[in-house]
Amino acid sequence: MTQLALVIDLNVCVGCHACVTNCKQWNTSGAAGALTDCNPYEQDPNGTFFNRVQTFEVGAYPATETVHFPKSCLHCEDPACVPVCPTGASYKRKSDGIVLVDYDKCIGCKYCSWACPYGVREFDEERKVMTKCTLCVDRIYDMSLPEERRKPSCVLACPPGARLFGDVHDPESEVSVAIRERGGYTLMPEANTKPANHYLPRRKTTVTVRNEELYRSDNPHKIDGAPFDETLPPATEELN
């Protein structure tokens, strides 16, 4: 059984918001559109977006990490939003695991958003229906597109390549390999919703230089002489 999902690599996400607006532009004129913008040119502009990038500061100065954190519907394997829906508008596709809203069935009771622990559903204030990430379902099956472009708009846009897309049930898929090899994790596991989307954590690359590495026998000082001190320190080989 297929479960399509995103894997978001926090190790390389620079927080540029490319995924945010490219999601918006694809979906506002797509099958899920139009996505309302309230007060577009007034005070407190706010509108419907399926994907947002948040920013957290972790740690205290100077040991601070700035973490950019994109968040959209996690397409849970056991979605809390689906069983609560009284109309069946909130549903999970059997064929690919995508969780969708049927805008023609939705009565706008917002109950699904109460059930979702992640705050990824957004009520469209003008259409009066609940909306959410569709994994660009109207794009990923579009056979008129070249195969490598049949991906969600956010994935295609992402400049640092921090968003992977694929079937997390296929152990050989790019996303499964990334989850397995790079410590992929899910959000709020205690909610038992089994999110399909995963996140890859930050990794640190360090370079350790040992003092005895500093001098080697081919040190140019052997030719040029010592620049500041009178004596040349021994090279690594001489130490051994």
Partner: protein
């Protein structure tokens, strides 16, 4: 569950007519290739072009919001004239026809050109058409032309180009594909941003180590493996200390330094000589290029005597002190560098930068060891300029990147010199894993374009006798009159800022207002928001724009603004020219300007209109071509006196830099049938061929020409033939800058030729040091650092890098207003609450704003996102929009001039070498706003009203859905 009713997959408008057109993005300076999808003639989707060499299919937040730019209610759609009888700045306009507009301009500009061409000044913002705007100014005959580089990052361009013949910017960058460690110093995100993001992502995935040295952990620094906070303006001290450590430990690439830099060249040390500090010349040596002689000496360590540089089998001494046969004492340039950094210990730098000495040593060792022990070798044979054949291309995998964070300080030029020297020490110039050039770079040091040389270059009805901008090589290249006074309105290329390669746009309005060096008549601003975020000292500049002489005439009599949007600046125009958006015009990213080249070869690109112009909008290029034709500029007029080019596309195809040169704006598909690249006859079908190829032309250099291009014989010859360089001489790295020493000698009165005025001698002698050095930013000397203990910085958020119009219904939801980020401890000690209103005050002005605590900023720095704040009502936002009520500009705190000196003279708040605006030097103090103060940012300005022709803004809500013919 029953089947879904709503079809989640099919297009909601299945029978719509759709079309996809390739063009180039212009939401910022990055210039990605895009595919614009139209549905029933409306923009449905803008995606990154996967075949494009620059962005390879990715696109950023701005690029994805182009739809909201195209359909923005801030669009100007009609030429506008300030309503007779109204005051400038009152923003009262009447629509007029283009015919009337051109008549007004033709009459006014024709008169100026016939009488005193310098009274016309053309300054442009972040445009990508300087090849055309510069040509227009030159043909007009005015010296008063520049783009925004002077207040952006000219220190970066100049500091590196005067050292290695290339620079970060669009001219070169880090080879992250092969680097192992990468150091990004200061904010450096806004240029080439999408490719850089992609490269950093790939670099990190491959296990590369990324170190960010920055007072603030934002931008790409967020994902750095290590963040090293540093006090603003002290990067030079850090770099000097690293240079010392690298030299002290012998971690420099000796082979690279001796052969490819001037490290081994001998410098005259005779203090009594008029050539003190200059390289001694070898009368028997090979000058290679008479216009730039290369006849230097090395002190050969084998024969222990002076020999011609690059003598076969010779090996220059890098350290030591020698005496020439004629008795002249000399030292190798590298010895002088060593002496310069002797006192620059890590402990010395630690006090200045706030970085612990151990950290400085650690990163120096990391750089040096990685360069030494992880050598890259590519099996690509190549031959250097002196004929030595190399079996392979080698490199050291240590990469750097820097831009504005280093550049926007008054010590930026020398700081960037020290960076370029460090990169050279590590042997990383145009080698794999290090820094790589992009065509048309590398260029000569300095490139051959020279500014005009004196007031005689400005003559009525005559093109300027030289370029308005260029790269001075000697003091005699300065654009000054007989008394050493500036000829340009911005004082560019004068003794105040001799190497101001991009001009000083930030001083134009102040200088013109004061009439110093002279008053002007007409100021034409293109795409530059000089009454807001593009000016320092914004509040005062706004007053200058409306200030009048005693006779009631405006001090700047006539202001023309060309822009696609109603900015804060259009309110101060007497005439407004409505420009098109990037989706409605032809453009080219020309090799004559700033192309989008890749490391492996030249790339240029074009825009083609995918939509018809909105209303009466006209591309600025067409306005220039029309005016140039009406004013009968020689380059735009046939021998018979008729109009030469019917349109901008026609101009681009047919213009050649010189008759028959075969070099024009575009390098692709030249020759009658498009059979030539780089050079060839004009091709009438050139635009179509570009369009067919995704709107770009990528010339792939042979692998043997892709590296070591400063000294690569094959490449140098090719580049000369392709018209990218005048000469084919090698570009030896200037570890020691004899060029700067010549200016110092002039200032000391030891050099014939142009001399600085006496009041500037000391200044020039101080800063034109042939070796890099660190000095405190100029504003520090004029500030009570106890009174103003903090530095204040700005940078653009990624969703608005280099974007000329942040009023965008989608982007403004991300950054609706801005906070001042203050280290939590600093703010707490000042009694300012997280999220509370506060004041930030410099000696020049004060701003009320919102405070946000942060752990990602060093305690001595406060910062905010730039250009989020807007004037009330500007950009067709409502007056109560958050941008105006809670957003703010830091510009009000930053002066465009320093305090007057003892003679009452005020100099630009800029780098004394290049005139780079010192945005990041400002010192501030902070304190809480008092209870009862308005909860609103300060200062506030009267609410602007929409101008005639602007679409009514959607109130309440809108929902864009392309192809239904009606914007909801």
């Amino acid at each position: 569950m029953s089947a879904p009713i709503h079809d989640p997959i099919s297009s909601p408008v299945p029978d719509a007519s759709t079309e996809t057109r390739n063009t180039t993005c212009y939401m910022c300076a990055c210039r990605c290739g895009i595919k614009v999808h139209l549905r029933n003639g409306e923009v449905r989707y803008i995606e990154g072009n996967p075949d494009h060499p620059l962005n390879k299919g990715v696109i950023c937040a701005k690029g994805g919001s182009g739809i909201m730019k195209q359909y923005s209610p801030a669009r100007l759609t009609k030429p506008l004239r300030r309503k007779p009888g109204t005051e400038r700045g009152a923003n009262e306009f009447e629509a007029i026809s283009w015919e009337e507009t051109f008549d007004i301009l033709e009459k006014r500009l024709g008169h100026l050109r016939a009488t005193d061409p310098k009274k016309f000044a053309l300054f442009t913002g972040r445009d990508q058409m300087q090849a055309l705007t510069g040509l227009f100014a030159r043909q007009f005959g005015t010296p008063n032309y520049a783009a925004h580089g002077g207040f952006c990052s000219v220190n970066m361009a100049a500091g590196m180009i005067y050292t290695i013949g290339g620079s970060f910017w669009e001219f070169g960058g880090p080879d992250l594909e092969r680097a192992k460690v990468f150091y990004m110093i200061g904010t450096a995100e806004d240029h080439h941003s999408n490719p850089l993001k992609s490269q950093i992502g790939e670099f990190k995935r491959n296990g590369g180590r990324f170190v960010a040295i920055n007072p603030v952990r934002s931008g790409y620094a967020a994902i750095a493996d290590e963040w090293i906070p540093i006090k603003p303006g002290t990067d030079g001290a850090l770099l000097m200390a690293i240079i010392r450590e690298i030299i002290a430990l012998g971690l420099y690439d000796r082979d690279f330094l001796t052969r490819f830099t001037n490290s081994g060249q001998l410098v005259n040390q005779d203090t009594n000589s008029k050539d003190f500090g200059m390289f001694v010349r070898n009368p028997e040596g090979d000058v290679i290029n008479p216009l730039r002689p290369h006849n230097f000496y090395w002190w050969d360590r084998h024969s222990n005597k002076a020999v011609a540089d690059h003598t076969k089998d010779a090996d220059p001494c890098l350290f030591g002190s020698f005496t020439m046969p004629d008795g002249t004492p000399v030292k190798p340039a590298f010895q002088l560098l060593k002496e310069r950094v002797a006192e620059c210990t890590p402990e010395w730098a630690a006090d200045i930068t706030g970085i612990p000495a151990d950290t400085i040593k650690r990163i120096a060792h990391e750089m040096g060891i990685t360069a030494r022990d992880y050598k890259i070798e590519l099996p690509i044979p190549w031959t250097d300029f002196w004929g030595e054949e190399h079996e392979s291309v080698t490199g050291n995998p240590v990469a750097f990147h820097a831009m504005r964070g280093l550049a926007a300080h008054s010590n930026g030029f020398q700081t960037i010199r020290s960076l370029a020297v460090l990169m050279s020490l590590l042997g990383t110039i145009d080698r794999p894993g290090g820094f790589r050039h992009k065509a048309p770079y590398p260029r000569a040091i300095p490139p051959n374009a020279r500014p005009s040389k004196g007031p005689e270059a400005v003559q009525p009805n005559t093109p300027l006798g030289g370029a308005p901008l260029g790269w001075p090589e000697t003091p005699d290249d300065l654009f000054v009159d007989a008394t050493g006074q500036p000829v340009r309105i911005d004082k560019g290329f004068s003794w105040e800022h001799p190497l101001s390669a991009h001009g000083l746009m930030h001083n134009v309005i102040t200088n013109a207002w004061r009439g110093d060096p002279y008053p002007i008549d007409t100021l034409l601003l293109f795409m530059a928001n000089m009454a807001w975020n593009s000016s320092m000292n914004t509040s005062e500049v706004r007053k200058m724009l409306t200030d009048k002489n005693t006779d009631g005439e405006y001090k700047i009599p006539f202001i023309v603004v060309c822009d696609a949007f109603q900015s804060e600046t259009t309110a101060f125009a007497d005439l407004v020219l409505p420009d098109t958006t990037y989706l409605e015009r032809h453009d080219c990213m020309s090799m004559l300007d700033r192309p989008i080249s890749e490391y492996d070869g030249p790339v240029d690109s074009v825009r083609i209109p995918v939509l018809p112009p909105t209303g009466e909008c006209k591309p600025f290029q067409e306005v220039l071509i029309e005016l140039a034709s009406r004013l009968k500029f020689p380059a735009f007029t046939t021998a018979e006196g008729a109009r030469k080019f019917k349109s901008y596309p026609d101009f681009v195809v047919n213009y050649e830099t010189a008759p028959g040169s075969g070099i024009g704006f575009l390098t692709g598909w030249r020759g009658k049938n498009g059979e030539n690249a780089m050079r060839g006859e004009p091709n009438p079908k050139q635009w179509e061929m570009y369009e067919k190829n995704g709107c770009y032309h990528h010339y792939h250099l042979a692998p043997s020409m892709q590296y070591m291009r400063n000294w690569n014989k094959e490449y140098l010859e090719w580049a000369q033939h392709a018209g990218m360089r005048r000469d084919n001489d090698p570009i030896v790295i200037h570890m020691y800058s004899e060029l700067l020493q010549a200016f110092r000698l002039a200032a000391e009165g030891k050099r014939p030729g142009k001399q600085p005025p006496d009041n500037l001698r000391e200044r020039v002698a101080t800063y034109f040091d042939p070796l890099p050095f660190w000095y405190a930013p100029l504003e520090d000397e004029q500030s009570d650092l106890k009174e103003y203990p903090l530095n204040a910085l700005t940078q653009r958020p990624m969703a608005m890098y280099h974007s000329w119009d942040s009023q965008n219904a989608w982007l403004r939801q991300i950054h609706t207003y801005n906070y001042l980020y203050v280290n939590a401890k600093t703010a707490d000690e000042a009694g300012i609450a997280d999220g509370g209103w506060m004041w930030v005050e410099s000696q020049w002005g004060k701003v009320r704003c919102l405070c946000r605590y942060s752990e990602a900023v060093e305690p001595g720095t406060v910062w905010t996102w730039n250009a989020i704040g807007k004037a009330s009502g500007a950009w067709n936002l409502t007056g109560d929009a958050n941008e105006a009520q809670q957003g703010f500009l830091l510009n009000h705190l930053i002066s465009e001039e320093l305090r007057a000196d003892t003679n009452g003279k005020r100099y630009s708040n800029s780098d004394p070498i290049t005139g780079q605006a010192a945005w990041y030097d400002v010192r501030v103090r902070i304190y809480p706003a008092e209870a009862g103060e308005p909860e609103q940012s300060f200062p506030q300005f009267d609410t602007m009203q929409p101008a005639p022709g602007m679409e009514k803004r959607k109130m309440g809500w809108q929902a864009w859905f392309a192809g239904k013919g009606n914007k909801k």
